[in-house]
């Protein structure tokens, strides 16, 4: 187990390194940092001055090495647009996105597990077909469109929830639904398939032979086994949700990493973009690792061997 974790940590480090290089060179290829620093429409002289001042006239590989060393030391540089330390800026926004990601995951699980269980227990019934229809339509619906439908419904027609902002818990409700619904079908399918397989297993018959009520058979004996792959998927999907929160945070002006990224992108704020991409990548890699470990730990057969 330790060897497994160490190997995966090594891989995670390599992946993070590769992502950092790709993100760095991709962004440098796409735009000129010196222009961004000197400001749009600046004179050539000023741009050249900025280029020399920030060492942007050095070969790209040298710049990358310098950036990497600073980053590893915990120095993500200064934001061009916000004029503050990138690390503290990112650090301040992170809780919002983490909270949104975890809430969305929780929402997705809260919807998909009961629906998946119902769909499996009453396979091919109307409830199975309803859950299925929701999933199929859900997968085709663009999430920003869905977000706007929510706004129309809950903010404009019903006046239950605020349209945008991030000051109270009620600001998180619609972003949570809009972000979470997109990963719900995948979970639902996994739970349904797992439950159908488990429900026809011998140990479920044993549990029924013991005279346990259907509720205990389904929720204690079946769900526990059917839900194991959901744990690993949860970690992967949380990483995906964090990365995908940019659209939803922007729609709802929820002041997290995604919104920060959107603002930095519109202002060509290279250091901030790089830091956010790096952070989200590292989080994704760590979460998939966590998912595998959790899976191994949850499964008694793997835990012992």
């Amino acid at each position: 187990m330790t060897v497994f974790i160490l190997k995966r940590l090594g891989l995670a480090f390599l992946v993070a390194l590769a992502v950092s290089a790709i993100a760095f060179f991709l962004l440098r290829m796409s735009g000129d940092v010196a222009i961004a620093i000197a400001g749009e429409g600046a004179r050539d002289v000023d741009i050249e001055a900025a280029r020399r001042l920030h060492g942007l006239d050095r070969p790209p590989i040298v710049q990358y090495a310098a950036w990497l060393i600073e980053t590893l030391r915990g120095d993500f540089g200064q934001s061009i647009f916000f004029k503050t330390d990138v690390l503290s800026l990112v650090w301040a926004k992170m809780p919002v996105t983490l909270l949104l990601g975890i809430m969305s995951l929780g929402f997705a699980l809260a919807v998909s597990i009961p629906l998946g269980v119902l769909a499996a227990v009453f396979a091919n019934s109307w409830i199975d077909r309803l859950a299925l229809s929701l999933a199929v339509v859900g997968q085709a619906l663009p999430n920003f469109f869905f977000a706007l439908i929510l706004v129309m419904l809950f903010s404009i027609m019903l006046r239950w929830l605020p349209v945008s902002g991030s000051s109270t818990w009620s600001h998180y409700v619609m972003p949570m639904i809009a972000l979470g619904y997109y990963v719900t079908p995948a979970f639902m399918r996994l739970v349904r398939a797992g439950m159908i397989e488990v429900l026809s297993s011998d140990y479920i018959r044993t549990a029924r032979a013991k005279g346990l009520p259907a509720r205990v058979v389904i929720f204690k004996h079946a769900l526990r086994n059917a839900v194991m792959p959901v744990v690993a998927l949860s970690a992967v999907q949380l990483g995906y949700l964090l990365g995908g929160s940019v659209v939803i945070e922007t729609v709802f002006a929820l002041d997290g990493l995604g919104f920060l990224a959107y603002q930095s992108i519109t202002h060509k704020d290279f250091p901030v973009i790089q830091a956010v991409v790096m952070l989200l990548s590292v989080l994704y890699v760590l979460l998939t690792l966590l998912g595998d470990i959790a899976n191994a730990w949850l499964n008694p057969r793997l835990r012992v061997s």
Binding site: Q139, F144, A186, Y262, S281
Partner: protein, 297 residues
């Protein structure tokens, strides 16, 4: 590196939605999906003939006129006009061109990259496989939306840029699926026979393996086209993709955002079209897969 296989499989099961749609629509999915898709394609193709107005012509005197079924609507503008008085129906028709163009070209670019990587990894195994698996893992770790947004914003949003950026970002699922499909195809008897006869490697890969993995390739291709269409819509919605005055459906929703309180149909119409197009592609893909690879093969 095999340790990553679990996460890879979980991150992208190729037939995730496919099985659901199959259960829901059964064998009708091909007819339903391809019929709808064909209709949208014809509409896109004949947009100049079908359009009732110039999609770019502004008429500030007739702004946000509602569709004809509203009391204030008229048959002059079937689906009303937008905030600049442009005919919404005509813009919608031209918008289909953009979505289809994006879906198709991103699919081709990412398909070529991903399929090549997957075939190489699956056929040669060993170091090639390790390298491709690492590349895929790295690609998966990068937040697509964010990277696409950043690069498109830096270079400047235009159709070719969006196609290239999405094409170079979205090959991962092709690679993963083609890799495992190739591994399976390689184990087939006649592939081994072709090797024994001494056929050249490119000949085996292109002549024996590729035809075998085609069904999976088609399924992934449809899924990816649909996903690329959604991504473009998101980019344009955020104002960093296709630039005005082009009538991208995502951009149309974005422009209508400020009027949603009074004119929600401005958002609902292009949004529904997006959802319909994506659903149609997914259904058609499922149907094609059933033809190529009947159950139990």
């Amino acid at each position: 590196m095999t340790d990553t296989s679990l996460s890879l499989d979980l991150a992208m099961e190729p037939t995730a939605g496919a099985r659901m749609r199959k259960r829901l629509f059964g064998q009708k999915s091909l007819v339903l999906g391809s019929g709808l898709l064909l209709l949208i394609m014809l509409v896109a193709l004949f947009a100049p003939l079908l359009a009732t107005h110039d999609p770019y012509a502004q008429d500030l005197a007739h702004r946000t006129v509602p569709p004809f079924w509203y009391a204030k609507g008229s048959l002059e503008h079937i689906l009303g006009t937008d905030n600049l008085g442009r005919d919404y129906f005509s813009r919608l028709l031209y918008g289909a061109r953009i979505s289809l163009l994006i879906g198709l070209s991103v699919m081709v670019i990412s398909g070529i990259i991903g399929t090549t990587l997957g075939l190489l990894a699956g056929y040669f195994g060993g170091k090639a496989d390790l390298l491709v698996t690492f590349l895929v893992t790295t690609r998966l770790a990068m937040p697509v939306m964010l990277v696409a947004l950043a690069v498109v914003a830096m270079v400047g949003g235009s159709l070719p840029v969006i196609v290239l950026v999405l094409g170079f970002l979205k090959w991962d699922r092709f690679a993963v699926v083609m890799r495992s499909a190739t591994q399976q195809a390689r184990a087939l008897d006649y592939v081994a026979a072709a090797e024994a006869v001494g056929a050249s490697t490119p000949r085996i890969i292109l002549g024996e393996i590729l035809p075998n993995v085609l069904p999976q390739l088609i399924v992934v291709a449809t899924l990816e086209a649909a996903s690329a269409i959604l991504l473009e819509a998101s980019l344009s919605f955020l104002g960093l993709g296709v630039q005005p005055p082009l009538p991208s459906w995502g951009l149309m929703i974005s422009e209508a955002k400020n009027y949603m309180f009074f004119s929600f149909w401005l958002i609902a119409i292009p949004g529904t079209m997006l959802a319909l197009l994506v659903l149609a592609i997914n259904l058609a893909g499922d149907g094609l897969r059933d033809i190529f690879a009947p159950e139990g093969r």
